[in-house]
């Protein structure tokens, strides 16, 4: 038994316990390593990885895949070569116990899918939505950039950090108490991007080596296996990392034909964009939540997305909103115009 403990801003406590070692575990260990602590008592979310026997007595079966009873769900999932089984006990309780069993490849995939889904779910129940966006700040003024993948939220954040801003996150952020809380996970790089040039970051020789052999593996397997390389945010941003701060301006970035800044967005429209962005990120959570809601339409789980919407609405009250249209080629020039017309003002 190997246990790791994580504490996200005293909002959520997570314990991950593994039955035995595996070479693929490095990926899972790295994912939340920024929040690792030596010990916690009473984790909100306890994840056990290893063999388990699901308790399928008196369950409803939905679509032949989901086994559901009050406060309980068991399901199986697969993606390409990865297969995993998940059992969640205490779905609607304060303390949630999760058991996951998977094949070896599955251990690379499920942190991103299952554990993220569960963290998002638990945080929302506590009143803290985990949104999809990057965040930076300066002088206790936070700026959030919510966007779909590939629009430029990471580049925006990195460019601002280079100008002396504090770094909160480049992918996900926790909203709550009128503040943003960092949610720092490692960068997952695919060799296909020319990230080094793009971001102006110097990689270590070890990282370069790793990217190189993964590229070879990709072509040797006829483009079937493409592995990520993880780089810890600490190694890139060092002292710029900050835990939390007040939000000042909220941006939604959309990839579109021409650079444009709209500052007449209504609050409902803003909420909808942030909401749909999270919705698109959570297919596993949607599938699981819908199956449970079919059986228990009056439960807490059935109201999950409605709650999420209200939480976002509550947390972005009385802010300045912008929608920024970013063209497919996000050049330095466009970033400068973006910066001068909004943040520098």
């Amino acid at each position: 038994m190997i246990s790791h403990f994580y504490n996200f801003h005293n909002i959520l406590k997570l314990q991950i316990t593994r039955q035995k070692k595996s070479i693929f575990d490095e990926f899972l260990n790295n994912t939340f390593s920024y929040y690792e602590v030596s010990d916690i008592s009473n984790p909100d979310l306890f994840v056990f990885i290893g063999d388990f026997k699901p308790d399928l007595k008196n369950c409803f079966i939905v679509d032949g895949r989901y086994y559901i009873k009050k406060d309980y769900i068991f399901y199986q999932n697969s993606y390409k070569y990865a297969h995993w089984k998940v059992e969640i006990k205490g779905l609607e309780s304060d303390k949630t116990n999760v058991s996951i069993n998977s094949n070896k490849v599955g251990r690379i995939v499920f942190p991103g899918e299952t554990i993220y889904s569960l963290i998002r779910y638990k945080l929302a129940l506590k009143g803290y939505p985990l949104i999809h966006g990057s965040g930076v700040g300066i002088n206790d003024k936070g700026y959030v950039f919510s966007a779909r993948g590939g629009t430029g939220k990471t580049i925006t954040a990195i460019n601002l950090v280079k100008r002396g801003f504090d770094y909160y996150s480049d992918d996900s952020l926790i909203l709550g108490e009128g503040k943003i809380f960092s949610f720092i996970v490692p960068f997952n790089l695919r060799f296909t991007y020319d990230v080094e040039k793009l971001l102006g970051i110097e990689f270590t020789n070890r990282t370069r080596c790793e990217l190189f052999w993964k590229k070879i593996l990709y072509y040797l397997t006829l483009k079937r296996i493409s592995l990520f390389t993880t780089i810890k945010a600490k190694d890139i941003f060092k002292e710029a990392i900050k835990e939390d701060g007040r939000i000042d301006k909220f941006f939604v970035l959309t990839q579109g034909p021409e650079f444009m800044i709209k500052d007449n967005l209504k609050k409902e429209e803003m909420v909808k964009k942030i909401f749909l962005n999270i919705w698109f990120e959570s297919p596993e959570l949607i599938a699981m939540q819908y199956a449970y809601s079919f059986v228990y339409p009056k439960s807490l789980v059935a109201n999950f997305w409605e709650n999420m919407n209200n939480l976002i609405s509550k947390n972005i009250d009385r802010l300045k909103y912008y929608e920024v249209i970013i063209p497919p080629k996000y050049t330095k020039d466009i970033f400068d115009r973006f910066f001068n017309q909004t943040i520098a003002k």
Partner: protein, 338 residues
């Protein structure tokens, strides 16, 4: 080949396809509604090659390309991949261009019914939207009737909905639909989308059992054009709602439930049906959500919510009762219901 469909005078669809396929029944599931001539179709679909117009488009996830009244999407699910263009989604008449790129021509079983991909992933969410705008609900449920009084049977996959319908037909009920219906207030309208498949199950094997031999027999049955199909009742008044649950419990239970709860089960059932189909990673109505993401002032769900509220009000006015049936795999469903 051109197929014109008129669904209960509510929706008119024209499908023009250049694919070659063996089984018509599974490629155009709406062919029960086939009509010689229709004017001004609400939905016009062209299946075949096209060149997308990506100029001035907003892009989402490198999957959806959107501008006002235009959606282009390219997507894949398991070993299927397809591209589609949807014009005038906010207007009354919608035009769709669709092409499928089956990576492997022999990707079983999809090469037998390539046009079905369009229907499942593109057409169904649009039909649901169009019906909702007219105050009607597309509902994943089967239905049978006797003396113009209908029983609605709903359940998720694996809850033996089809078996339940077959059993009810054997007890002198008439057939409305086995998988999909349209609800107009407390009226049930038929939407038999796989009539051939159901007719085969009902008349030839008399139960829901699709083993390998039956699949071959089904293939033979569907490719023969002179089969006599089951007769369909087009409309009846809703009287009972059965919600089927599959359980691991040993003893079956059947109990009366609150009408409001039953309706909630129905709605969640339909939400699940219209969200994910083949794999969990895929969200079916995704392109509508993507359009809303770019133009947040548009709310497609509004019509659906209104149609749902209308349905709930209507059924509460009429004397409709609901039962939930919890049953395990091995138990006999027929004796329980009747």
């Amino acid at each position: 080949m051109i197929i014109n469909c008129n669904i209960h005078n509510l929706l008119k669809i024209r499908i023009k396809s250049s694919s070659h396929y063996l089984i018509k029944d599974l490629n155009f599931r709406y062919h029960y509604f086939q009509d010689k001539n229709i004017s001004n179709p609400d939905i016009f679909i062209k299946i075949g090659n096209f060149t997308p117009d990506l100029k001035d488009c907003f892009c989402l996830d490198r999957k959806f390309y959107i501008k006002k009244n235009y959606i282009y999407l390219k997507d894949n699910d398991k070993n299927l991949s397809w591209e589609a263009e949807i014009f005038d989604i906010e207007k009354d008449a919608i035009k769709i261009n669709f092409k499928h790129n089956l990576k492997n021509y022999f990707s079983f079983p999809w090469f037998l019914f390539p046009d079905l991909i369009m229907e499942l992933y593109i057409l169904q969410p649009i039909i649901e939207l169009k019906l909702a705008q007219k105050g009607l609900l597309l509902m994943h449920a089967g239905a049978v009737c006797k003396n113009n009084k209908a029983i609605l049977v709903a359940g998720r996959g694996g809850s033996r909905k089809t078996q339940c319908i077959i059993d009810l037909l054997n007890k002198d009920f008439s057939f409305i639909s086995d998988d999909m219906v349209v609800l107009d207030g407390a009226k049930v309208l038929s939407l038999p989308l796989s009539l051939g498949l159901f007719t085969f199950s009902y008349t030839r094997i008399k139960k829901e059992d699709m083993n390998f031999i039956n699949q071959i027999r089904l293939f033979h049955f569907l490719s023969n054009k002179n089969n006599k199909m089951l007769s369909v009742i087009d409309m009846a008044n809703l009287e009972k709602i059965f919600i089927l649950f599959s359980t691991t419990r040993t003893n079956p239970t059947i109990k009366d439930i609150n009408l409001k709860d039953a309706v909630e089960h129905l709605f969640w059932n339909q939400r699940m049906e219209s969200t994910s189909y083949v794999s969990y990673k895929y969200i079916i109505g995704g392109f509508l959500k993507a359009y809303e993401y770019i133009f947040p002032e548009i709310n497609f769900n509004e019509a659906l919510d209104m149609a749902r509220t209308k349905f709930l009000n209507e059924v509460e006015k009429n004397n409709i009762f609901a039962k939930s049936i919890e049953i395990s795999k091995k138990q006999d469903i027929a004796n329980l219901i009747c």
